[in-house]
């Protein structure tokens, strides 16, 4: 049995504590967002890109610098199909379309073709970002030269060997010095969920344009819409790149 508590008859009147806790929490939350916003260093955002030769000694991997939220800074894995598996011995990257010499690039070719490091932030259209990733990859422009891109080519379509996902760039976007077929992240082979063995990385564009599990590259005269664009999705931020969106 619980003993009855002693109650002082003349209790002080109740105080409006609830609303103070509530409003205090909302204020703290808003303050936290603003302070966090300062810490994620907006001026660096979106254009923190550099490209350098692979033999550069200074190309070290950098730990997240963000003190408060850095511990939570990680990739979120979005996939529209079950994460596909591959075997290095049989994986092929087909380069075709409006080219003079269609190519079949093998897993070992990834390491023997000339590659570069691209250091960049990875930014998802849903808001999250991972700063200072060091990608190693083959520049798309190198691949276009090898394959002999034809004059009529204006766009590039990328297809995933998951059989569903596809994306497209303008040829200009794909010719950027930091648009690469990436096969290493932070000096390690791409993890499966990062699109192993190879994915597209172009830090000028949001993550959904950076196709994973790359299986095909095709040069075209007309834009072939990507997976999300086929679903009627357009990104107003990138404007002119999405001219042919419905």
């Amino acid at each position: 049995m619980e003993t009855p508590p002693e109650i002082t008859p003349a209790s002080p009147p109740p105080v409006a504590v609830g609303r103070r806790i509530f409003l205090g929490l909302l204020g703290a939350g808003a303050g936290g967002l603003l302070i966090g916003g300062k810490l994620v260093q907006e001026p660096r955002a979106y254009k923190n890109v550099s490209t350098m030769p692979v033999n550069l000694n200074g190309a070290d991997t950098i730990q997240p610098r963000n003190l408060v939220f850095g511990g939570l800074e990680r990739f979120r894995y979005y996939s529209v199909a079950p994460v596909p598996s591959y075997r290095p011995a049989t994986w092929r990257l087909r380069v075709g379309g409006l080219v003079d010499r269609p190519l079949l690039i093998t897993y070992t070719d990834l390491y023997s073709l000339p590659s570069v490091y691209v250091r960049a932030d990875f930014r998802c259209v849903t808001g999250w970002v991972v700063h200072d990733n060091l990608w190693r990859g083959i520049q798309l422009r190198t691949i276009f030269q090898l394959a002999g891109a034809q004059q009529a080519a204006r766009f590039v379509t990328f297809t995933s060997f998951d059989g569903i996902y596809r994306e497209s760039f303008t040829l200009d976007q794909a010719q950027s010095e930091h648009a690469i077929v990436a096969f290493e992240l932070n000096k390690r082979p791409l993890p499966t969920e990062q699109g192993a063995p190879a994915r597209i990385i172009n830090p000028d564009m949001f993550g959904y344009k950076n196709l994973k599990w790359l299986g095909g590259i095709s040069l075209t005269a007309h834009r072939e819409n990507g997976y999300w664009e086929q679903k009627g999705w357009c990104n107003p931020l990138i404007g002119s790149d999405f001219d042919d969106c419905a």
Partner: protein
């Protein structure tokens, strides 16, 4: 009101954890479907309580809100003596809500506002500055981490803890045992 809020809240929590955990998000093949459920439940989290307020007993809800807002010495005493199971110290009498329930409702409502605000920044990220989407995503994660123990604690108190579990039935059928109410909630004067 309890269920109008807590049903969408629980759906959001479950779908949100499924969408957010690295262990589950790579397994999801119907991510867009779960995302749609998550967004629909977010609408419900605003719409259902609003509907209850519009159609329901507004005076009663107002009285409840007032009781949750007002705290006196005995509420603090109740929290200090901590209602953990199998402790012998007596708990001071409470009103309709005990101090733990009051605190829970305040915290969970504040969290819901935080989730809704950061959620809108994530949902419509392209309409806001990039830093806001970035920070909101991480704040949304932190809020989830904070809210899971709160919800679990609330459920354990209501369903398991012998010193408070009489409240569980009442939230389903609306009645409490009169003797229990006298013993624990003697300052409840409807």
């Amino acid at each position: 009101m309890h269920w109008a809020f807590s049903t969408p809240f629980l759906v959001l929590l479950i779908t949100g954890v499924a969408l957010g955990l690295p262990q589950t998000e790579i397994l999801l093949t119907h991510r867009d479907l779960i995302r749609a459920v998550h967004l629909a439940a977010a609408v419900g989290l605003v719409a259902l309580p609003a509907a209850v307020w519009l159609a329901g007993n507004r005076r009663g809800l107002h009285r409840d809100a007032r009781e949750i807002d007002r705290w006196d010495r005995l509420d603090w005493q109740w929290l200090r003596r901590s209602p953990w199971p199998f402790r012998r110290s007596a708990l001071p009498p409470q009103g309709r809500f005990n101090a733990g329930q009051k605190l829970n409702s305040i915290l969970v409502t504040a969290a819901a506002v935080g989730f809704l605000v950061t959620g809108v920044f994530m949902w419509k990220a392209e309409a806001f500055p990039v830093w806001l989407g970035d920070v909101s995503t991480q704040a949304h994660d932190l809020l989830t981490i904070a809210v899971v123990p709160l919800v679990l604690g609330h459920i354990i108190m209501a369903a398991v803890n012998p010193r408070t579990n009489q409240a569980l039935g009442s939230v389903f059928h609306g009645y409490v045992d009169a003797g229990w109410a006298r013993a624990h909630h003697s300052r409840w004067m409807p």
